[in-house]
Symmetry: C2
Subunit: 530 residues, 2 copies
């Protein structure tokens, strides 16, 4: 939230704004502050980009004329789905389940082959909301029950705030997971309304509302489901919260296995209800649908019919079904052509729950910066505006969705320039097609550590697996097995070092926010049978 301005501040700000508009607009002083490597590329491609932007602008203007408002935008963030899980990415049947609706979405839209998330849940969610690598926002870990002092700070500017200011109805539904204190609530971060859970209920088996005898899905989860805990190691991690902007939210359902089993479908119902309410409004809407974890416990009995017979396979089938419902609803309401839908996963699989979690044929898992952890499926869908059947190899990072949504809403200049924004505007890639990505680089952070840097085909790991084995060619070796390509390292090493140096210099200029997480006291005794 960026309210809280005093009147004086407001007057000063407006004065500065007018001065800026008059004197500095030709110099783009108000423009977004990108990372250093982007500026290098801007010098090289600025003219080409400006010509493309003109084309994008014309396309959007024509659409706005047709529909009388800016396009609706929907973000769907799936949980823990690896790069090779959907049928359209080589998974599906190969993994013992089907994803017909997501495959259809890909066929009707644009399937990204190089979509990168942050390494874990909280990190990606923060990056998606504020368009910045989480380390810049002081978010350096995954939030677990009872963590306080960390989350999406009030001072961060979210895509919901930008779109809200630009006249959008805004709604958030599902797993929030970027802070449990009032400051962090989605209703304090730009959403008019929200129905959310703090994290991935039922968190642990330690939740007092979870019974040892609850149905948690396939029985071969066995002893993994939950186990006794120290008497004081348990709390009520809350439940589903419902609220409106400026109001105190209420808890509408305490966590339970039953709630969790059908959570993805329940969330989708809420999203669809929100869409129906705003479909014919004279204002566009922005909906954020954060799906249930495709791992862990809690398989919806209605979807336990997949050949793989794992909780994950049921969860995949359920989520796929819900995405299909949502897209069909947009068509049914006649608003599909004025709605951009972005579907993506928050990170790769978690193997602790194997075989009930996800999978990736790529190396590594959630919480790392190997490809399996951060290269995820990502699809954009916008009938007639995004040409069907595309699959660009262009690099895209989750932060780009923040900037791109702001840009498509005509509000890119509302992104503050007093901080670095990592997300680049990918409108040209979406609307004009393959080869139009504005990035050929990514800084892969793992919490506070810069672990790897991508540039074109090459990936540089800051800590080699053994001396001089830092370099991977991601085209030659997508699973990162052959780091010893000294021939690449020799020419690309200095380039990477320069990129990192410039990146760090910009951090000096725009320092990271500092937050400090701490664990709150346990407030409930543990008695799972009660």
């Amino acid at each position: 939230m960026r309210g809280n301005m005093t009147k004086l501040n407001l007057i000063i700000t407006m004065g500065v704004f007018i001065l800026a508009v008059v004197f500095a607009m030709p110099l783009c002083a108000l423009a977004i502050q990108p990372d250093a490597e982007y500026l290098v590329r801007q010098k090289q491609f600025g003219e080409k980009w400006a010509a493309e932007d003109k084309q994008v602008h014309d396309k959007l203007a024509a659409l706005e004329k047709k529909f009388g408002k800016k396009p609706n935008i929907i973000f769907i963030l799936a949980d823990d789905i690896g790069y090779t899980e959907l049928g359209s990415y080589g998974g599906g049947k190969v993994r013992g389940f089907s994803t017909p609706n997501l495959d259809k979405m890909a066929a009707e839209g644009m399937k990204f082959l190089s979509f990168y998330s942050e390494p874990a849940c909280t990190l990606t969610r923060a990056a998606l909301m504020a368009g910045r690598h989480p380390v810049r926002m002081g978010i350096t870990g995954v939030l677990f029950p009872g963590t306080e002092g960390m989350g999406l700070a009030d001072e961060e500017v979210t895509v919901a705030e930008i779109l809200s200011d630009a006249g959008y109805h805004t709604g958030m539904f599902g797993k929030w997971h970027i802070g449990g204190e009032p400051e962090h609530y989605p209703t304090n971060q730009g959403f008019d309304e929200a129905l959310w859970s703090e994290g991935n209920p039922p968190w642990w088996g330690f939740n007092r509302n979870v019974k040892r005898t609850d149905n948690a899905g396939y029985t071969n989860m066995g002893g993994l489901v939950w186990s006794p805990a120290p008497e004081n190691f348990a709390y009520d991690t809350g439940g589903n919260m419902r609220g409106k902007k400026g109001e105190k939210p209420e808890m509408v359902a305490p966590f339970s296995m039953k709630l969790y089993n059908t959570m993805d479908t329940d969330t989708a119902n809420d999203v669809i209800d929100f869409i129906e309410r705003h479909a014919s409004s004279d204002k566009p809407f922005f909906a954020y649908y954060a799906g249930k974890g495709n791992h862990f416990w809690g398989a919806n009995p209605d979807f336990m019919n997949q050949p793989a017979a794992t909780n994950n396979s049921a969860q995949m089938a359920e989520h796929d079904h819900n995405v299909g419902r949502l897209l069909r609803k947009l068509k049914e309401l006649g608003i599909a052509e004025n709605t951009l839908v972005v579907w993506m996963s928050d990170n790769g699989p978690m193997y602790a729950m194997h075989p009930h979690g996800g999978y990736s044929l790529l190396r590594g898992e959630k919480g790392e910066t190997w490809e399996g952890a951060i290269r995820v499926p990502g699809i954009v869908w916008w009938p007639k505006t995004i040409e069907a059947g595309q699959d660009p190899i262009d690099l895209v990072q989750v932060t780009d969705m923040f900037t791109t949504a702001s840009s498509i809403a005509g509000a890119k200049n509302e992104i503050p320039n007093d901080r670095v924004t990592d997300g680049v505007d990918q409108s040209a890639l979406l609307l004009l097609g393959e080869g139009k990505s504005r990035r050929d680089y990514i800084f892969h952070y793992n919490k506070e550590k810069l672990e790897a840097v991508r540039k074109d085909q090459m990936k540089y790991r800051t800590e080699p697996v053994k001396p001089h084995h830092n370099f991977y060619n991601i085209y030659h070796d997508p699973s990162e097995r052959f780091p010893d390509e000294v021939r690449y390292g020799l020419w690309s090493g200095p380039g990477f070092k320069k990129m990192i140096q410039d990146h760090m210099a910009l951090i000096e200029k725009f320092p990271h926010r500092v937050l400090k997480a701490y664990q709150r006291e346990f407030d409930y005794p543990f008695d799972p049978e009660k």
Copy 2:
């Protein structure tokens, strides 16, 4: 070849044949001798299968009525292309090259998601030709230059022999690699005509026709290309042979880098010429197109424009281009609807030449029985007869193509039943669609050793990576990382043991052929510059 019968033998054989027809036909005594596990399934599904066979028969009969002859059949065997290499299998751009023609073939036909080869080149080629695991034929290794005493024995009955006897024109073009002695020649194994190389020219860099200064493709092959060898360690490994059935073949081109660079295109030219010559014949044709290795040296300069900039990427682009030419030619000649085209890879990638060889996201490489070595891309194409856009997960093994081709040519009963034939008839899968595979099991041999057995989702390794870690669920874990699923092992262990026991009992009854390979004397001094 199965000729060489004396007149007396012929008379006796014919007498036996007539007796068999009269007395034994109702008992199917002349039917193919399958492996033991097939017989178990036949008991269970025999009635269902008979009903399907009736449907298949009716479809084929209608087609034969329309075209006035049996369908043409083309086998295209690609070399060392891993499971995840084609665009339609999650590769393509992801690996820095494009395979638009093979992707189109998959979209217009049936793409197998569980097509299994033998672990290496010679082994798969023998299996494809004779429909039997190579171990049964005494073929227990990959043939290298100068190996003699091993190859496809005269007594093996090839698909070319069966189709030739059924009235097909037969032609073989490309890399033969199942024996270099006259007995093994394709023109002695059922092909009317052939243009072939004994192996993968230019074999080593030691070939006397290869100069150190020859263009071998991308320069970053560096020192790997070829190196000095002991003076007597080199021979003339021949060159391209051309011949006709019953005639002595002649060498038409000695091996050279130049010959190798364009070999796939030259081979495709020959195949297309063969097709053109027989397109309007009143007899159908069978063509076997064995492509150039997608590894090693030798990139065709015309295709060195792929983003990955490796020899492999050029070879992939070239082979893809040639498959496209061939399919377009069939359409142009108006015979596509009466032609079954089978495209498949002989095994997974070889990493010794990384990054100039292939790749697989799955575990393992050529020469092993991990999925990466034997799970390969496979596509069947037959406009209007095979429904477009299918991607069955059904298990298929390369030997099945032998039996299926014989069946589609109406000559399945010509398969000898004095030996075990591993290939099962997959006509129902091809013509009726997913779920109709006649196998849910595969015996994965590596040379003479039974290393793994597949049944449904499960794979059992005969030698565990550690005690009790023999079991992989290939749906849960396609990359074989989590063998410790004791829960699966416990119920599937006894089943696998019974399968192996019955398999071995049948080997007792039908023993393996015994061949003994030896290395012939080197016959040329080494002087690469001469």
